[in-house]
């Protein structure tokens, strides 16, 4: 059933239908609507056989999730920004212990200066934590990704973050079709943990590993991560078969002309400039590129859905013969460039590709279609330099007028 829903509501309802055993909540904008919605469902009984725990910090949110997951429950929490960094230690720990927790990250900038608006700095800071990171292009995908995330995480024994742009998606209302309870029950296998704190088969979880064994435990984690790409892709494919719509996947292809998502779209050609991007900016890029294609400009769009594991092969396949890339990045590697650009660069090492890095939308700066078209056009014309900050204002830090809204900024 298509319905009009706020992104956070869509995610909350989908998560509830994945039947988590324990949900941990600690408020931080912009993820609050998700856990608020879940708290209502926990009270109304829509979320059954589930403990909803109001913890005292994000660190404890992840820690409670760790305990719950280790005790045999499907565990879920959500956070953003400073909250994600505050729980960082536990984030790494959950991954190291192979606990398939699913967490929504409502992507938000990391201070200082404190800023509640969207960019990808928070999740990027956790890129090596050992979690899957699945990015939603829109609210439909944000909801659907949670189903895939639970399935893939639990098969792999690797926790998963579903990243959705804060406010831009979490607070936006769209026309969506949610997976129903029956559909999810038919799709998502019951949680059967590979290790559990079981009184009948006691085990010790979380030992100390010395120099003689630590490298190998990390190597195994690495191997599992290499397998993760196949597993994420497989569950995404299964999702498409089951629900009749695409979600997740690794590197996402778009029809060259309609710019609609299409896994059967051909790879880019040698003449094409390919725009690689992640998250909600893809929607804006779809609208920005369509008229350029109509004008006959050789521009293609490739989305990154699975940032972790990074889909090196899938990305190269989607790029085809193209050796000219513009990466729209929502996080900055200080002194270097876009974070995603670095990953794309490493994936394409040795291919002789030209890669432009465009850092856009930091701290909630709106990304405008016109600005994107402009930077693409300049790249096509060979006028674009290696690193560019989209819509950068010169002359220092602008001071907004008193009482101004975003419109006036």
């Amino acid at each position: 059933m298509r319905e009009v829903l706020e992104g956070s509501q869509a995610v909350a309802r989908t998560v509830a239908r994945c039947r988590p055993g324990v949900v941990c909540a600690y408020p931080i904008s912009p993820q609050t609507h998700i856990v608020e919605a879940l708290s209502v469902m926990a009270r109304t009984g829509e979320l059954r056989d589930c403990e909803y725990v109001n913890v005292e910090s994000e660190f404890s949110a992840m820690s409670v999730s760790i305990g719950a997951s280790a005790a045999g429950s499907r565990a879920y929490t959500a956070t953003a920004s400073q909250g994600l960094l505050y729980m960082a230690e536990a984030v790494y720990n959950a991954a190291g212990m192979g606990l398939p927790i699913v967490m929504t990250v409502a992507n938000r900038a990391v201070g200082a200066p404190i800023n509640i608006w969207n960019d990808h700095s928070d999740a990027m800071a956790m890129r090596d934590s050992g979690w899957l990171q699945l990015y939603a292009a829109d609210n439909q995908e944000a909801a659907d990704l949670h189903v895939i995330a639970f399935a893939a995480a639990e098969e792999l024994g690797i926790p998963a973050m579903v990243c959705m742009d804060g406010f831009v998606l979490t607070h936006a209302t769209d026309v969506l079709e949610l997976a129903t309870q029956e559909q999810i029950d038919g799709f998502l296998p019951p949680y059967s943990p590979t290790q559990v704190l079981d009184i009948d088969r006691p085990t010790t979880i979380g030992t100390m590993a010395g120099p003689e064994s630590f490298t190998e435990t990390k190597y195994l984690q690495h191997l599992r991560f290499l397998d993760a790409a196949d597993v994420v892709e497989a569950w995404s494919d299964r999702f498409t078969e089951a629900f009749g719509r695409e979600a997740g996947g690794l590197a996402v292809r778009y029809d060259p002309d309609t710019l609609d998502r299409d896994r059967s779209a051909p790879p880019a050609g040698a003449e094409d400039l390919v725009v690689v991007a992640m998250g909600s900016v893809i929607g804006t890029l779809q609208e920005a590129i369509a008229p350029m294609r109509a004008e006959g400009l050789p521009v293609r769009l490739v989305g990154i859905s699975a940032y972790r594991p990074f889909p090196r092969e899938a990305l190269k396949a989607a790029l085809g013969e193209s050796r000219h890339i513009v990466v729209i990045d929502r996080a900055l590697e200080l002194g270097s460039g876009g974070v995603l650009t670095g990953c794309v660069g490493r994936a394409l090492a040795g291919t002789g590709s030209r890669i432009h890095s465009v850092v856009a939308g930091l701290g909630g700066r709106p990304i405008l279609e016109g600005s994107l078209r402009d930077v693409i056009a300049r790249a096509l014309a060979g006028e674009q330099r290696g690193l560019e900050f989209l819509d950068l204002k010169t002359g220092g830090v602008p001071v907004p007028p008193v009482g101004a809204t975003e419109v006036a900024r």
């Binding site: 742009d165 607070h171 209302t173 769209d174 909600s280 006036a408």
Partner: protein, 199 residues
């Protein structure tokens, strides 16, 4: 595609208005999108929200820069919030005020803009009907009264769905009153005795 921008203050239900408008648009057969633009959640702070109606699924996430319709839920925002900024030629501006259109143009930052300016005492209507200064329903009713993007029935429906019972009904009434007001029709709450006698 129709793009709507709503100005208001924290606590006036600006974000709710955008979402309700999107829902009403969906009921009216559109693909819809509502995007709030948030600051920290502080009562009284200026807030903007956007809404889009289209015939194909909406993909873009950029804010509405050139609105077809602007709803100003608080007349004190006319100056600093620049509600007329970017309004498309021939656009529609609906302002919640007890004053008239010339007064609005006089106090808006860009009074010469090519747009139809409509005023509606939405706060007074909501106080009369809902009992609270929550002008959203009245503003959307006014919008339905001056454009065919949404219908009064759809606006009333979404408020009844969101707030089942008395509150929903009160909001539906507010929408109807504002609808009538901007169309110069009699207040629907006042049933003319003649109509009764003719019924």
């Amino acid at each position: 595609m129709t793009q709507i921008r709503i100005h208001g203050r924290g606590g006036q239900g600006v974000v709710t208005a955008a979402e309700m408008l999107a829902r009403a648009g969906f009921l009216a057969g559109h693909e819809v999108q509502a995007i709030p633009s948030f600051g920290s959640e502080r009562t009284g702070a200026p807030v903007v929200a956007y809404c889009r109606f289209a015939d194909v699924p909406l993909r873009t996430r950029e804010p509405v820069l050139e609105p077809d319709v602007v709803l100003v839920q608080d007349p004190t925002l006319l100056g600093p919030a620049q509600p007329f900024a970017g309004v498309r030629p021939g656009g529609l501006v609906i302002v919640n005020t007890t004053e008239d259109a010339p007064w609005v143009r006089e106090h808006a930052g860009d009074g010469e803009v090519d747009a139809t300016v409509v005023t509606v005492p939405a706060t007074r209507i909501s106080l009369d009907t809902v009992g609270l200064p929550k002008p959203s329903a009245a503003m959307l009713g006014a919008y339905a009264g001056r454009a065919d993007h949404v219908t009064l029935a759809a606006v009333q429906q979404v408020f009844r769905d969101r707030f089942p019972g008395r509150v929903g009904e009160a909001n539906a009434t507010a929408a109807a009153v504002a609808y009538a007001h901007v169309r110069g029709e009699p207040d629907p709450r006042i049933v003319p005795s003649a109509e009764v006698s003719h019924a």
